[in-house]
Symmetry: D2
Subunit: 140 residues, 4 copies
């Protein structure tokens, strides 16, 4: 699963928010996010969009973990329900529901450290066969 | 609409990603995001979760703009389709579809500077009447 | 759980498609649908909207099963992924993920008789306290 | 657009609920549904799943109207917000937001006869090139 770890390491947006990859197995990926004051919305809770970011990433890599490393993937869409406000560290656990030839459907659950269920996401991804998962060098 | 601008200014997550409020009117809000390398995913495109963050925020403040300043609101859920990859500045335009007594449904469209349609979001929010839109001082 | 069975029995749309309530417990409801040729789309598979109907109903009654019988509820929104085409009897199993004071989030999984996973739904519902779950007699 | 009308005519589920195709142009399709008592839920409103059926179908044919008649399509997923209860005839207007090579994103708005906005749907569809849009004769 080294290609998963390498791809995650290239996600600068994950470094920006301080998220790390804390679990990878076939069809399952865990992303952890320590609490930081600069991740919050106006009331001091973790921003719903930040919760979406780690759930999105956990779904994406869960899907990618069942694809060949020579492929790349794009997020088609996702839907998230925020179940409770969060003011602390979070973990997003992504899991593949259905890995099709072209499309994969994944789900992520986001939990607080005390086990509270914070959010649930359903996501659709599309595999791009034989496409590099890196920056196109022709782009600045 | 000063309460909208003040609430946005308290969103530290918006400062983190460099987003700003570039339009506010009754039921419509625009959030702009300059391109930055640290907002990208592994292929150098703006991270789908970052796109979600500005669309989420544009929907939320569009909804809030039709509520009394004495109220607060929570995001119930949102669904976003990513229509095209983005490698440049983005603008998210949120608009209220239906403002109910308790629930509001909003939509946001995200565009690139060349007018390309990048993403579309549908969101549900819940009003909390007579609730401060600020940090609870009892929380550290 | 008699109020659940009675409410389901008032759903004429369920009778129209031949769906029945085959399981009710606290927070969980099962709706079964025999295959019929008049439930199909243009290729002879069960119509995606019909799959949505039974998943919607399973979520709704799962949510209602945790509410007082004096309340009523409305569907706020749902999102469904169709995972595989179906040409046979289906069962939709709804389950509550989070029962809040006002909003409930539920999920339904739809399976074929051979255990194939056909669809997955995530739904948001709103409780209306002290509201009759019956027809308003003033409406014709 | 004859292939659209012929495909719709093969949808037995549309006949079951009494829906008809009342508008077809490139990228836009309208489906109309007269009110019938057997389309209702327990409170006498049109069942949310029935509203989903016509919105789903309007999105699907809007997408199909931009594809070659030699192709077929499948619904990947949809998300619908119910904005108001309905007790009368409905019309669903589907429109393509983005027609990609493989995936199409469409939207449908559902209205009551008095112009009330009843529901809004966002849907993703996948084109299957060179695939018959008819029943596989090998299936009984």
């Amino acid at each position: 699963m080294n290609y998963i770890r390498e791809s995650f390491a290239r996600q600068k947006a994950m470094a920006l928010i301080g998220a790390s990859l804390t679990g990878v197995s076939a069809g399952k990926v865990e992303v952890s996010l320590p609490y930081r004051d600069d991740l919050t919305q106006q009331k001091g809770f973790v921003h719903g969009g930040i919760i979406g970011m780690i759930a999105d990433t956990a779904c994406g890599y869960a899907a990618y973990s069942l694809m060949p490393a020579s492929a790349s993937l794009v997020t088609v869409e996702y839907k998230i329900n925020i179940l409770a406000p969060a003011r602390g560290a979070l973990v997003a656990r992504g899991e593949v529901l259905k890995a099709g030839r072209t499309l994969t459907v994944a789900r992520a659950e986001v939990y607080a450290q005390d086990g509270k269920h914070i959010a649930t996401m359903q996501q659709t991804l599309m595999m791009l066969p034989d496409t590099a998962d890196t920056r196109d060098p022709s782009c600045s």
